[in-house]
Symmetry: C2
Subunit: 256 residues, 2 copies
């Protein structure tokens, strides 16, 4: 399957420009799960669904805000029009437009664009991961020190005991968290309460940058099942470079 990645990056920038026009200028509403949605999310998703349906009519689409189309296809797009909507509403910079493509329910490729920092992350199936056109790779072997950092969800103070020796940040976007691991800046990231549209692009980019992931219990999450019904990760997932994943899993523990 030939996908035009430069076209995808144009769509992501287009979505970013729409979202940015609402930034600092929007009123969020709460969805049934109490998370935010804005006019920006809805307008960007509508635009991306239209572009994808026109260009790839044989593919399925699943999106955060509404889209559920032909989820039984070999290729299904999983899009999050604004990953990090809570940050978006709070006026924080960590949010972006995430466009992922699943093949048989597994991350195949992805594009993530962060408008505030003008950062574009993308991956080519078996062809590497890129940050603004530069190839990226997860952090290699090495000891952690007090400047090493990981990212965690913003409710981690209540949910986990974390004995990491470096810095623990909470930035607010799952896909951004994965991209900072992919580019070797963050040592790892802990992900919770994610649906497939939060993961498809970011995990593609992580994989192509040499990274891996696993559930905190040691089980792999069943992403194809999540792609069928939009359900959330059944348990937290850690992502990191292969030299760091097991060591991170040993220092992060759910609280009782």
């Amino acid at each position: 399957m030939e996908i035009d990645l430069s076209e995808l990056r144009i769509w992501a920038r287009e979505g970013g420009a729409i979202a940015r026009s609402y930034f600092r200028n929007t009123i969020g509403r709460r969805k049934a799960d109490r998370s935010w949605v804005t006019e920006g999310d809805i307008e960007v998703e509508r635009m991306l669904v239209q572009r994808i349906a026109d260009r790839y009519p044989d593919h399925g689409i699943i999106g955060e805000e509404k889209a559920r189309h032909a989820l039984n296809k070999e290729y299904v797009w999983a899009i999050d029009p604004i990953d990090g909507t809570a940050c978006f509403v709070a006026g924080l910079p960590s949010w972006g437009v995430s466009i992922g493509l699943l093949r048989h329910g597994l991350p195949y490729l992805g594009v993530f664009y962060m408008p505030i920092a003008d950062e574009m992350y993308w991956s080519v199936p078996s062809g590497g991961a890129f940050f603004n056109d530069t190839p990226i790779h997860v952090a290699g072997p090495g000891e952690w020190d007090n400047e090493s950092w990981i990212s965690v969800p913003s409710n981690s103070h209540r949910r986990y005991t974390i004995n990491f020796s470096g810095k623990v940040r909470s930035l607010g976007s799952t896909v951004a968290d994965l991209c900072f691991v992919a580019r070797g800046s963050a040592t790892g990231t802990l992900l919770t309460r994610c649906a497939i549209w939060d993961l498809a692009a970011g995990l593609s980019i992580l994989r192509e940058a040499g990274g891996i992931y696993i559930g905190l219990s040691g089980q792999m999450p069943d992403l194809p099942a999540m792609a069928q019904d939009g359900s959330l990760l059944p348990e937290p997932v850690l992502a990191a470079g292969p030299e760091h994943l097991d060591r991170l899993r040993a220092v992060i523990h759910p609280r009782d």
Copy 2:
């Protein structure tokens, strides 16, 4: 004392442009305390010290990287050329140029510019606080919910028990943390290991936005003493709107 605030904002933007030219393009070095310094910090501080000394020759100056000049004056500038250098080195967006003015050792006015998001925060003595020319105010009374958020230092997972019901973020810049409280986005922020140049601008902006602060033990920090010798806060400090400060203090506890 008449201070030209529009000139200060120009200097902050000028410093931001210098720093930004090093962003994603710098190699950090560790200082004696293991924290980062880059060529960007040094060049921005040199520029700001020069501008201030030329324009306000009767004032003192204290800066993060080197400046220690006439600290016994009524007016002393406290500057942090890049607040959030660890973020800057990590490629994260939360850093900025902080220019504060102390009077008798207490925050008098300040300007903080974040180049990546192009956000300018500033305060006028007894004249209010502003974000990109819009007046700002801390959050008013109200219950916390799961979208309320506070910011904490990146080592808080080891140091504090936090029973806050909302989100806890760690973004990486002390002054940005204070500005997000000042504009009513964050409910509060916990500050540790800060020197006077991390606090002068941010606390001026917080005060003019109606915010207050106090040490976790209930004591006020002795800022004039910190302005004399560049020493760090003797204990963590909480900053918030007056409706939230005591309630936050009740849910954040140092670990043994």
